[in-house]
Amino acid sequence: MTRDSRFLKFSAILGFIFLYAPIISLIVYSFNKSKLVTVWGGWSIKWYVELFNNQQIIDAAMVSLKVAFITATLSVILGVLAGYVLSRMGRFPGKMVVSGWITAPLIMPEVITGLSLLLLFVSMEKLLGWPSGRGITTVIIAHTTFCMAYVAVIVQSRLAQLDDSLEEAAMDLGAKPHSLFFLVTLPIISPAIISGWLLAFTLSLDDLVIASFVSGPGNSTLPMVIFSKIRFGVSPEVNALATIMILIVAIGVIAAMWQMRKKENVL
């Protein structure tokens, strides 16, 4: 089995077809005129028109975007601190525990995270009177908790790649700890911060299970509305929505790649 054998090439191609065929069919059928999702009735954009007239979806999208924006920002702040603490602050008591807590939310089944946070919020409300009821705030806290883990891991691996000679030089030249952090460390890890923010934003926008547990009535997020629509079958409006979301992400990722390649060429 050499690395460029036909078998490898064939299975890689099959693998990529497996990854992309469902997405492509979803996009194609969003332009289908027929209500029956699989019967082709000619090209049409009527599902897009219906999508933008669906107030329930628009409202949910607004809630989700708001939650995702705040979550991503909070996650970056906490995640950068956590990543920095774990890779640059040496030993401290409880380091093993904190590093375990940081990676665990990444693989914890969502039903457990969701249930446990909901029970925490309910108990806290009973004991402290806060948070009163559940809503956007509780969703943001829950999302931040698992998204900061992703940011921390990204930042940590970026810091591990860079040796700390720049930081040491700055320290030798008399930089105080906070100016060292803001003037030296932060600029070097800025690519990791940007990708961490984007990842946190996407993950928050996408989460169904945790939001279902911790959100209150009247604060349904977009995935919750989508889930209730598709639970019992396919809905062409959702195809249209999916196409828009997939295209935005694809354009974003391709733009980021292109930007990075340009930078590499300059350097």
């Binding site: 990529f16 906490l78 693989i107 446990s116 946070l117 995935p223």
Partner: protein
């Protein structure tokens, strides 16, 4: 003379003072930087598990929130009462429904992990063998679906596997089947869904180990007369073990607790523990039972999670 000594002492005093101030600022800064993320994680990640365990020992009640208190303070007799009900755990053990759900989740997760490895390995191997620019492109193609909505990707398979969906139409068109097959709402669809959504989690760690693989060892094996197949199984595969291990755990652990995939693609009798927990909570409104289910699931998952962590630490060293 005394003047010199004076300056000396003053200078010394100043250095000591600046050092002390610096030390103080570092200590406080350091403490707050360490404690902000740690405290957040302690409150919103660790304590919730204790709360889950606590509530799993309560009983459901018609109240807000819908469970009984564990601590009851009897003011008349000044007696504090602690009521711990282990009934939920007993019930989990006695009712074969739950045991079956746990076993079936582990089985579904294990089988899907195996197929994810089977599909992911050749892909990772192929990508790692390409030149740098192609590699970046192919890796982006692997990661891109991960950035698009998980829910919508599972939904895409609903349209794909339906009775009059594309797969059935295609199989009928090439004459392989006469009648459309029941693909959606089967265990088969759940396997496909898990393999599909978790494939990037398998490919990335595999790719990382394969990329670092020392090609000269494989060459050496071949020069010494090993057939390509033998060289693969005796040299390449053992060297990839850390990546295989990490990839499998990254797929297996979340797959055990999966809810969305069995809910959308599975049959109504596809038993998975994530779904059982969801139904206990949202349909039966039995919070203590849902907590007991979660606690046991966590205990089952602690071992693989530990394995993942020790594997990572060894890799670092």
């Amino acid at each position: 003379m005394s003047n010199v000594t004076g300056t000396f002492w003053l200078g010394h005093y100043n250095t000591i003072r600046t050092k002390f101030n610096l030390l103080k600022s570092i200590r406080w800064g350091r403490l707050s930087v360490i404690s902000i993320p740690s405290v957040w994680l302690a409150i919103f990640f660790f304590i919730p598990f204790l709360v889950v365990f606590k509530i799993s020992l309560a009983e459901p009640a018609i109240a807000v929130p819908p469970y009984t208190d564990l601590f009851v303070w009897d003011a008349d007799n000044a007696i504090a009462e602690i009521k711990l009900k282990f009934g939920n755990y007993l019930y989990l053990w006695e009712d074969s429904f739950y045991l079956d759900a746990y076993l079936s989740s582990v089985k579904i997760a294990a089988v899907s992990t195996f197929f994810t490895l089977l599909i992911g390995f050749p892909m990772a191997y192929y990508i790692a063998g390409k030149k740098s620019s192609t590699r970046t492109l192919l890796l982006t193609l692997v990661i891109l679906p991960f950035w698009t909505s998980f829910l919508l990707r599972v939904y895409a398979w609903m349209g794909f596997l339906k009775k009059n969906g594309i797969v059935n139409e295609f199989l009928q068109a090439i004459g392989l089947i006469d009648q459309p097959l029941q693909l959606l709402q089967t265990d088969f669809a759940v396997y496909i869904g898990i393999v599909y959504t978790y494939l990037p989690f398998m490919i990335l760690p595999l790719y990382t180990t394969l990329e670092k693989l020392d090609g000269s060892l494989i060459e050496a094996a071949k020069d010494l007369g090993a057939s390509p197949v033998k060289a693969f199984f005796l040299v390449t595969l053992p060297m990839c073990m850390p990546g295989i291990f990490a990839g499998c755990l990254l797929v297996f652990i979340p797959a055990v607790g999966e809810f969305v995939i069995p809910a959308l693609l599975g049959a109504s009798d596809t038993l998975m523990i994530g779904r059982v927990l969801w139904d206990e909570f949202f349909q039966n409104r039995d919070w203590p039972m849902a907590s007991a289910v979660a606690t046991v699931m966590l205990i089952i998952l602690v071992v693989p999670i530990m394995f993942l962590r020790t594997g990572k630490n060894e890799e670092k060293q």
